[in-house]
């Protein structure tokens, strides 16, 4: 099961854990954009060094990161191979029919491989050190400027946190439904399109029914507690911008600047 958000959070008290979610979110975006500008060995080396530093700072064992990459490795290799075999330019080392390998394409393939790793690593750091609810809170803070154009930021954030809250619940229910159907002898793994459709309907109907029941119960509970609209709510946890956020931004901005400088070499 490929959980890319859930069950990944590891509690901790590291520097990264205690940063505010909004700056972690923004720094991840910023990092992905900086990766886009990297174009040679120096800049990739620098970014890799930064990500290793971030992983060390997060206090999470490196095994978790490797475990996150493992299911993706074939996909990454496949994409890198596409790049190596189909790109042109440089000195041709080997070619067969439409495929050719050049020195240029090998170097580019290597860079793409590093790019993949860097992006997956930074997002893994984010989800390992931030709870889904804190991420939803971070999204709310990041999108706050949109309030000026009457975009319902708070409603969206509340909706997102309710959705994230219910994903594990629905996942459990899904498991139960799957087992119930398996016990009745339904085979989900094979068969024609018609067979697959027939197998899917008895899975989806109870899943949706369950979700609608949750929505109804939750609405009753919310209205009983006087929920009127989500734009004027107060919060239990406040994530404030801290000194450590400023420091982290300075480090990331410096690295970003250096990458721009290295581009010229």
């Amino acid at each position: 099961m490929s959980n890319f958000i859930f069950g990944r959070y590891l509690p901790g008290h590291s520097w990264i854990h205690r940063m505010s979610p909004q700056s972690k979110l923004l720094l991840s975006f910023y990092f992905v954009i900086v990766i886009f500008f990297a174009n040679n060995g120096y800049s990739y080396g620098l970014l890799s060094a930064l990500i290793v530093f971030v992983i060390l700072m997060s206090g999470v064992s490196i095994a978790y990161f490797l475990k996150g990459i493992r299911p993706l490795i074939w996909l990454i290799v496949f994409t890198v191979l596409l790049q190596v075999l189909f790109s042109s330019g440089g000195h041709v080392l080997w070619h067969f029919g439409p495929f050719s390998i050049t020195d240029q394409s090998l170097i580019n393939g290597g860079f793409i491989f590093i790019r993949f790793l860097l992006i997956i690593m930074i997002s893994t750091v984010l989800t390992l050190t931030t709870t889904p609810l804190a991420i939803a809170d971070g999204v709310q803070t990041v999108l706050k400027p949109l309030k000026k154009v009457k975009f319902p930021v708070d409603t969206l954030a509340l909706m997102l946190s309710i959705a994230l809250r219910f994903v594990p619940t629905l996942m459990d229910e899904m498991e139960t439904i799957l087992n119930a159907q398996r016990a009745r002898g339904v085979d989900f793994g094979s068969g024609s399109l018609k067979h697959r459709v027939k197998a899917a309907v008895p899975l989806l109907v109870p899943l949706f029914t369950g979700a609608i029941n949750h929505a109804e119960n939750l609405s009753t509970a919310m209205e009983a507690r006087g929920f009127s609209d989500s734009e004027h709510r107060t919060k239990y946890r406040l994530y404030k911008w801290q000194f450590r956020d400023t420091i982290s931004w300075i480090v990331f901005l410096l690295v970003g600047g250096l990458v721009l400088v290295f581009r010229k070499y």
Binding site: M1, T79, L82, I112, I162, F166, A211, H214
Partner: protein
Amino acid sequence: MPRKGQTLRFNLLAMFIAIIILQTSIPLIGYIPIGPLSITIISATVVIATILMGTLDGAIVGGAWGVLTFIRAFVWPTSPLATIVFVNPVVSVVPRILIGVVAGVTYQALRKRFKRQSVSISIAAVLGSLTNTVLVLGLIYVFYRANAPQLYQVNIKELLPYLLSVVGTNGIPEAIFCGVVAPLITLPLQRMLKGRL
């Protein structure tokens, strides 16, 4: 005080987004692999949401799927196709929003014309699903025909026919699936929610 059903609508939207998050992360209920193809069930979810709650909400649910696809293309890609194509937010988000819009408009237009609900739902679902396929294909063609600068610098031009055929062959069974499944699921749910939205 909120209008009657306003909180329910809000929570239903949240639940649909939760279901879509679930469907994008568990293969069995999100995608059906048939041979080399893997057809998505999520467009059916978007159509169901559209018919239960209206065009606007369908578009929101579709948009949520699009944003998820976009984010996943970077951090947890499902296929090599995603890393190349869906890193462009226009390709990943816009077609998904329009599933809801097209399905909603079609359903509203056909609802009075056919006596049987299932017929109009089915037609809306097929059109919604095809909207997704056609727009994704069309936008890939528009964006990648010229060699635009890419995140992963893969030479798209030579891959274009391959990409288009993969997405195209997925599209047909997807539309059929959507057309069959959407009414089967929507009708009982509609009965459940009757008069409460």
